[in-house]
Subunit: 330 residues, 2 copies
Amino acid sequence: LGEFGLLDQLGKKIPSAKVPVGIGDDAAVLTLRPDRWILATTDTLVEEVHFSRSWATAWQIGYKSLAVNLSDVAAMGGIPAYALVSLALPPSLEVSWVESFYEGLAACAARWNVEVVGGDTVAAREIVITVTLLGEAEPHRALTRSAGRPGDLVLVTGDLGASAAGLEELRTPRLKDHQTRELACQRHLLPVPRVEEGCLLSAFPGVGAVIDLSDGLAQALREIARASSVGAEIYADRLPITPATREVAAYHGKDPLWYAVYGGEDYELLFTARPAQAVRLREKIQTRCGTPVTVIGCLLPPEEGLILWRNGDRQSIGRGYDHFQPRTDL
Amino acid sequence: LGEFGLLDQLGKKIPSAKVPVGIGDDAAVLTLRPDRWILATTDTLVEEVHFSRSWATAWQIGYKSLAVNLSDVAAMGGIPAYALVSLALPPSLEVSWVESFYEGLAACAARWNVEVVGGDTVAAREIVITVTLLGEAEPHRALTRSAGRPGDLVLVTGDLGASAAGLEELRTPRLKDHQTRELACQRHLLPVPRVEEGCLLSAFPGVGAVIDLSDGLAQALREIARASSVGAEIYADRLPITPATREVAAYHGKDPLWYAVYGGEDYELLFTARPAQAVRLREKIQTRCGTPVTVIGCLLPPEEGLILWRNGDRQSIGRGYDHFQPRTDL
């Protein structure tokens, strides 16, 4: 317990006005800026379900376990602040693995100004990582999945399918070119949460529903449809898919559109906006953050369901990635 | 995922002024009373390390996974408010087990006015439960392990060793009397966090260090000694050990003092107080909460170390329960 503990790994921080009591007491004592709302989210990663030590380093797993939570706070338009890290670890695990895990996590925390303020470390048969992230939002400015309206345009940051392509290549390496391979895998291993983009969205009028793409585009659309009581149509030819993602798909004999629609873990923001504001919003995000934003469809009345238009064909959008039944063909 | 999910089990709560966004979005949006400090703590329970389905029901495990976190907030003198519940579950687990787990957790939450606002449910080989609890404290009133001073009296709420005795009896049933047996096991299965007592302590002048007894008296004293830079002496004949605990010890051929000093999970509060205030403080807790409080020793200068006086013998207090090396003789 001692050598695996957070205390020894991350060091006992000196109490500050922001964190009057940090790691090492019964609970951490934290402050936010005056009159802010608190955001709270938690994500659990299990070995061989969400990651594998055979293709991800401890550093990468540490980094990603915080990054996936940052993406949730980003999708609420909030500013991340504090993390609690719970680790269930096999006692046989080398101490160097745990050290490297914490280094990756600390690097991600430093990049987004998050302070690790607590946690728990226990013995288990397999590695189970739970990170809880607290953030702050301006009152009445939190972005939700339920604010979409029929007629809204549907937009997405960055590109789609790269993470699923990377996962495919990590599991079954086929690419010849080392650099392309690294680039593809990077997208799965070290996702970039869209924190700045989410903050911009929260300050902008005309934004509708917002969600992060953790479980894939199809699943995200289903969530927005449920929470906002809407339908949606998506245009396959508008989906931003990079040449690298298409290359991986070609090497693996897969349809890149499948990665983009049903592959999860892109951690982009999917959001809707009133048509009158959508173009200015897209330009603002592109200018301020350097992140491309693409219009990929629009919201419809709920009775229309979820539609994917492809080469003039109307397809129904089915289920995305399900953690309890991982698609073996992905 | 669907049938195991928090959403379906706990129901989608209607947004309120207190919880503008609850379960079902990317993150929960929460508020505390104006100008309060935030308390945050997390605890992870692993099957066959912290509990066993062979002697604990799903309801009891659900109840206890929140109760152990409540005890941490109690030890900071705070008021518990919100919980996030992360479950890693074997896909083969019956849905009724998960439902019963949530019912136990919800019962504990209702008893202490905690709202479950988020979580995650994932597949794993064994059950791993992580509960993160948020609470609030008045600024500058949080109780810590570091405020002890040489000369403080050492006090404890309730009694000691009952949980370890209960665990022993759960693992190896030996008691003849059904009622005594139930009572002993109850103390291990359904601990009562000392939330009201902690709140009283936080409002009282003259309180020193405070910690909850999750890992046993010996370990708690070590933590206070480290954080407050003090030593301590404890008088064995003053330790509050109930007749029931002594009876279990007798049936199992064990020393009840061992349960009291090294057995963990009593979830009582151990605290220190300036001698001038200790008696009034004890009476106040007894009157207001009906909880007995016992003076069991006093703090010393750090060079004295941790001493247990027993029948005039001076013993050094060693290590308590260690999660990575569970004592098989407990």
